[in-house]
């Protein structure tokens, strides 16, 4: 397959590089408004700033480890280097492929693959969530806050755990309501904004005035619910996740109720991986994107958050210094 597909190559004015980046998303791929799009943001930044050629693929809805493996193989065979696998679902596949292409640099997001040429990009989501927990608890007047999770899996539970711990560090008596949109294995959990809306409605009805969602596409429902409550005169806030959702065009109409977002800088990590290859010093091994590396954090694009920034920044310092160690499971 070498039919001249140059449609996606870099613009003529930008710097050019001979590096070809292959990016493999899981399932339906980008367009989820958070996690996958954050990865894409890093990729397109690399495209414009470094002039690399890019290629994106997705694994489709009934993917198996074998078909994921094949996708990575095709990319590696096609001369793409680095090859970045977005999502922990790729871990088995990558573990099988990476050793066969020692010359290629691979990276995987949200998982650890033990191979000399793989960069494992993991994020201390609990640390970032701790900060949003601090902000939420400080901002809350009612002493009730909420958390909306997508699928009930360990990855998302770490968000919840950090959030709760952060909130309790401010107000030990705070009441936190948590709800997941689907049990583990229920793939619809990421696609049910209307359910997230209901859950948020319920939390607000029970007094919650800050709600944080880590629920992929379902998170939209939280914004809708909070917006509706705010339109009804209540003082309520929503906290976004992954990207800075305050600046996401699709969410523009909810802007004013998005206090902040927990940033999981997949974009930074992706960009770093690409840049390292361009620079000739590939990032391999476990790359822990935590607070100290600015791999997680909170967004400040909504000026309303400045009121609570002091508390959050103080907490951040404590985590960085090791004074506070945030757990990844709900106590």
């Amino acid at each position: 397959g070498s039919s001249g597909e140059t449609a996606e190559s870099a613009e003529p004015t930008a710097p050019t590089s001979s590096v070809k980046v292959g990016m493999a998303y899981d399932q339906d791929g980008k367009g989820d408004g958070s996690f996958n799009d954050a990865a894409f943001a890093g990729l397109s930044k690399a495209q414009t700033e470094l002039g690399v050629e890019i290629k994106e693929v997705n694994s489709g809805s009934s993917a198996t480890d074998a078909t994921r493996e094949e996708l990575l193989t095709l990319l590696a065979d096609g001369g793409y280097n680095p090859v970045i696998a977005v999502g922990f679902a790729y871990s088995t596949a990558l573990a099988a492929v990476a050793p066969k292409y020692p010359e290629t640099t691979f990276a995987i997001v949200d998982s650890v693959v033990d191979s000399a040429n793989v960069g494992s990009l993991v994020f201390a989501a609990e640390q970032g969530s701790y900060l949003t927990g601090v902000i939420a608890a400080t901002a809350s007047k009612s002493g009730v806050i909420g958390f909306i999770g997508g699928m009930e899996i360990d990855l998302i539970k770490a968000f919840e755990a950090g959030y709760i711990e952060g909130a309790k560090s401010v107000n030990p008596d705070i009441k936190i309501e948590s709800k997941y949109m689907g049990a583990a294995g229920d793939n619809t959990a990421w696609n049910v904004p209307e359910k997230a809306k209901t859950a948020t409605d319920g939390m607000i009805a029970n007094g919650a005035d800050v709600v944080y969602a880590a629920a992929g596409g379902s998170g939209l429902g939280m914004f809708q619910s909070v917006k509706a409550a705010a339109d009804g005169g209540a003082t309520v806030w929503a906290i976004g996740v992954d990207s800075d959702q305050y600046t996401v065009p699709a969410l523009a109409e909810y802007k004013d109720i998005i206090l902040t977002s927990m940033l999981k800088r997949v974009d930074v990590a992706v960009f770093d991986v690409i840049k390292a290859v361009v620079d000739g010093a590939p990032l391999v091994g476990v790359q822990n994107f935590d607070l100290s590396k600015d791999g997680v954090g909170y967004a400040t694009s909504n000026s309303a958050v400045s009121e609570f920034a002091a508390a959050a920044d103080a907490a951040a310092e404590k985590i960085k210094s090791g004074e506070v160690v945030v757990g990844t499971t709900v106590q």
Partner: protein
């Protein structure tokens, strides 16, 4: 007849509220009958109810429509796409039209070509899934706010209505916690709280269906195509035309159900029907191929989903368990009175198990609520199947003059 029916309806409503009220009193959990719960349950129930209603139309005309899921998917897509382009009402229209196309395809395969209806419906589900995913990639990938799996937001909103003068006094009555009265008040208020125009349309479609199918000549002819198409043909009824009309309209309703979903989430997303077409089909059987029962079945799904999601302190699932037990005991008692001892013992036993579970556990995992509607459906069908009366020629391919 009408008098009898309305009396039966009032009786059923009375029993339901009483059982809810008993449960609410024992658990002390006001959520069970609160205004918000009911209002939300209506939102969740509506797309399922529309799918069920779609099923009624097709199957009353003798065509099993297992392609409801696919037609609903087409509806979600149509609404997402047109809603993004031209606003929410265009989305509704496109959802209906896309669903109709799915219906037309089923009609061509099943009515014209006589393909086994379950097979044809399954094929439509497959096709709809592939087509919408593909179109989503084509149309939404580079659109601002869209992605290859989701549309950009739908423009505009469907108006919603709240009758505050009614809701407020009723809601405060609900707070008082009086047996039956408060529960009734909470439920009633739920019907006037945050009611979307689409939900009202759904109600109207149920009323219109009841009227059209059971009170008009048109309905009699349509149903005759599902009961005995050969007899209908011999009386000059244009059976094939009626089947086409019914199946296409069924597609429109399923498409509307899909559009409802997309509009409720303000976007189209791959997979956001989450099997509701199949659930709609189940509620239709549950409801004995009639609008009233189908609406009740859909409401059960919506109600359980709502309680699970607005759960405060994991008490709602517990409440549901108790509610289940109360209902089982009630049915058991009824069976005893009808001298059906074995069934009665079964129900009472099951009820006791649930009571035991209720008192021994402090909370239940959400999976219990997740599967509860499906188990309930199976239980209802297992106890009531013998009394259900599907259209006599449902699923039988019809060809003119083929009858012996």
């Amino acid at each position: 007849m009408t008098y009898l029916k309305s009396r039966r309806f009032i009786g059923a409503a009375f029993t339901a509220i009483t059982m809810l009220s008993i449960t609410r009193t024992i658990t002390g959990n006001g959520d069970l009958t609160s205004t918000v719960t009911i209002a939300q349950a209506l939102v969740f129930a509506s797309p399922i109810a529309l799918a069920g209603l779609a099923g009624i139309w097709a199957e009353r005309a003798g065509v099993i429509n297992i392609g409801l899921e696919g037609m609903m998917i087409l509806g979600t897509f149509g609404a997402g796409w047109a809603g993004w382009q031209w606003g929410v009402w265009a989305g509704v229209l496109a959802g209906v039209i896309f669903g109709a196309i799915g219906g037309l395809l089923l009609a061509v395969a099943a009515v014209t070509f006589g393909v086994d209806q379950i097979i044809a419906g399954t094929a439509i589900n497959l096709l709809a899934l592939g087509l919408t995913k593909f179109l989503a990639i084509l149309l939404f990938t580079n659109a601002p706010g869209g992605g290859q799996a989701q549309s950009p937001p739908i423009k505009g909103e469907i108006p919603t209505f709240t009758f505050n003068s009614l809701v407020e006094p009723l809601s405060s009555l609900h707070e008082k916690g009086i047996f039956f009265v408060s529960d009734f008040a909470g439920i009633l208020a739920g019907l006037f709280y945050n009611m979307s125009l689409l939900t009202i349309i759904t109600f109207l479609l149920f009323a219109i269906t009841s009227y059209l199918l059971w009170k008009t000549a048109f309905g009699l002819r349509l149903r005759s195509a599902g009961e005995n198409p050969w007899a209908a043909d011999s009386l000059g009824v244009k059976v094939v035309q009626f089947k086409y009309a019914a199946v296409v309209f069924s597609g429109m309703l399923a498409g509307l159900g899909g559009a409802y979903l997309s509009i409720a989430s303000t976007i189209y997303r791959n997979g956001n029907t989450a099997g509701r077409g199949y659930i709609g089909l189940a509620t239709m059987i549950f409801g004995d191929w009639r609008p009233g029962g189908t609406a009740a079945g859909a409401m059960m799904f919506g109600y359980i989903d709502t309680l699970r999601l607005i759960d405060t302190g994991n008490q709602n699932v517990k409440g549901l368990i108790l509610l289940g037990a109360v209902i089982l005991f009630a049915i058991g008692a009824l069976m005893l009175r009808r001298a059906r001892r074995n069934s009665a013992i079964g129900f009472l036993l099951l009820g006791s198990v649930m009571i035991g579970a209720y008192f021994s556990a402090t909370s239940f995992p959400p999976e219990v609520a997740q599967v509860a509607p499906y188990i309930t459906t199976l239980l209802v069908l297992a106890t009531a199947s013998q009394n259900l009366r599907p259209p006599a020629a449902d699923g039988i391919p019809y060809r003119k003059g083929d009858h012996h």
